[in-house]
Amino acid sequence: MTATNGRQSLKDLLSSRRVIVCCGSGGVGKTTTSAALAMRAALEGKRAIVITIDPAKRLATSLGLKALSPSPTDLTENVNDVLRAQGEKPLAGKFYAVMPDTTQTFEHFVRSIAGKDETLAKRVLHTSIYKIFAKEYSGTNEYMAMEKLYVLYRERDFDLIVLDTPPAANTRAFLDAPKLLAGFFDDSILKWFIAPGSRFLASGVRKLSEILERLTGSGFVSDLIEFTTALFELRAQFMENLTAVSKLLHQSDVSFLMVTSPERLSKADTQDFVRLLGESGFRFWGFVVNRVLGRRLGLLEDTAPDVAALERGLAGATPETLRTLRAAFDQLKPRLEHEREAARFLAGLAGRATQVALVPEQTTDVHSVGALLGVSRQLD
């Protein structure tokens, strides 16, 4: 773990923030890192919780559960059992986990905004359009995660909340979600659909709908309009929620970090995310880079390994042994080279206050409390 002079280490981050938002694309170990961060804070004496969307239930399995619950679950004892077995002190703090209910994402989203207005929710949900729409519509998982964060933050039960952002193809997805959803509630566009004071269609729209109808058949457009109109009535509540969450994410006790891995690092995606984060005025801590093989092998990430010198270090080895070792090492060289290149890129991208934390490739899959504890101890 690198903590250059004057820079804030992960450990310092954990003690000085109330919220840490972990972003990153799929398959980089984001959920593991998020859980390990919360566990680390618990080791340091905090009441910590990880909010995660863990559809594969891998974290749940690791923690010895069938599934994570949508209400905060105290897992301190699960961790303590393992700590005791390792001959270590129990957690000085508390470790909780929670998984927002995203089972039927869009329906849940609509119901959560509609609140007590059952009829309105039903009007949105009865259309055929909804059946297409409901399939993982972009942004809804993110919204549910944000809302869970907001509620937990306001309740003030926790010293630290780590938010594992929902799985997405690109890192910026979490930041884009509010805008995507807000697009459906855009007054300037929606008013075209509805003549003032009534629910009749504005005439210009009718013409345009006729054209779209020529492509899609008659049911589609009328259904779309019914759906949109009903959705329109939910806009005030939605906008209010969104403003509140956005205000929270901009607070000084909230930091963002990006989880990545050398093999999955996309330069364009990373640059895009960092730029957008800056533009949006969020606080960026830096990068957590998982699965760094060089770290596991005990190599520096900035210089190419001197294999001849490494061989000289093994004085007792026979020439055959050295030959086999060298051949195996050669197999790893492209990956190591790629890692150095990735580390250079991130260091070059990192601004004055930005950190790069490198986590070694783990010996075993992180599939148990013990393994999670192992990772959390490596986060410094």
Partner: protein
């Protein structure tokens, strides 16, 4: 059912992000082109992905990058046969909103383009987005066919479904690594596709498998336990240890998977195998990767 997915007209490739879908799609397309088959490789852009220019890779091999906005435009011009109408239609703010908000329209149009191109080539290999969005895309013709009868989109949707469901014409291939998360996504994708198209189960490719020489395995077995602290700290020994363990772990994972196979109703891979295996290779090994696929699926 035909012997190998490489023989099918339309080869649709997906999998979890980062498993090497693009390299597998390219290798499959190369293998086909090398057999003298006119092949089109389509790279479907993921949301937010930057456009990449793919060069013409080899004789008989053409590539194109698809973006949903462009397909929508093309489709409207084709179906409504009026360019001026299209411009008036699309430049309107409201229509832009409709296009964005009308769920599935972009996806079905993009898929329609893929489907349409099969007429122009011997084979079309599609490098799809990762599992979630790929599934959403493949769902769209089924949704439109079921929910909105009438109109050109409905009729195209019906035709697309017929092509996709036919194991003589279309192969769905899911790429994975010998790791839990990618395989879980692959199996979920295969299961969802099986629900849509019971007669055309997916194929599986295990990509980037670790292979260690017998010498290396033997050396590790003989010496590792007896090494001193200092020797074990050497990156050379640690590298060997990593490779040997990784290979063993993958092998163990794959054998546990073999037992869990039946419920997922996937198609058998190469003769006598459940899936196609491709070893970890460097970036410069495109032709060797293509040969592996061609050889295994001959």
């Amino acid at each position: 059912m035909t012997a190998s997915w490489l023989d099918r007209k339309l080869i649709v490739i997906s999998g979890k992000g980062g498993v090497g879908k693009t390299t597998v799609a390219q290798a499959a397309a190369r293998a086909l082109a090398a057999r003298g088959r006119r092949t089109l490789l389509i790279h479907v852009l993921q949301l937010g992905e930057e456009e990449q220019k793919i060069e013409r890779l080899a004789p008989n091999l053409w590539t194109v990058t698809l973006r949903s906005e462009d397909c929508f435009r093309e489709y409207i011009i084709m179906k409504l046969k009026l360019k001026t109408l299209y411009t008036a239609f699309l430049s309107n703010k409201v229509t832009k909103y409709l296009e964005k908000a009308a769920p599935g329209v972009r996806e079905i149009v993009l898929l329609g383009k893929v489907w349409f191109e099969r007429e122009n080539y011997d084979h079309v290999v599609v490098d799809m987005p990762s599992t979630g969005y790929a599934l959403t895309m493949i769902h769209t013709p089924f949704n439109f066919a079921a929910l909105f009868p009438g109109g050109p989109i409905y009729h195209d949707a019906k035709d697309m479904i017929a092509t996709f469901s036919d194991p003589k014409q279309t192969a769905f291939v899911t790429v994975s690594l010998a790791e839990e998360m990618p395989i879980q996504e692959s199996l979920e994708l295969a299961e969802e596709l099986r629900k849509l198209m019971p007669g055309n189960p997916s194929f599986l490719v295990m990509n980037r498998l670790t292979r260690v020489s017998a010498d290396a395995r033997e050396l590790h077995a003989r010496k590792w336990a007896k090494l001193t602290e200092g020797e074990r700290a050497s990156p050379l020994w640690r590298g060997l240890d990593y490779l040997v363990n990784r290979e063993a772990k993958e092998a163990q994972f794959l054998s546990s998977l073999r037992h869990a196979w039946e419920p997922f109703s996937l198609s058998k891979g190469p003769p006598g195998k459940t899936w196609l295996e491709i070893d970890e290779m460097g970036a410069g090994d495109e032709s060797r990767r293509a040969e592996t696929i061609a050889e295994a699926l001959r």
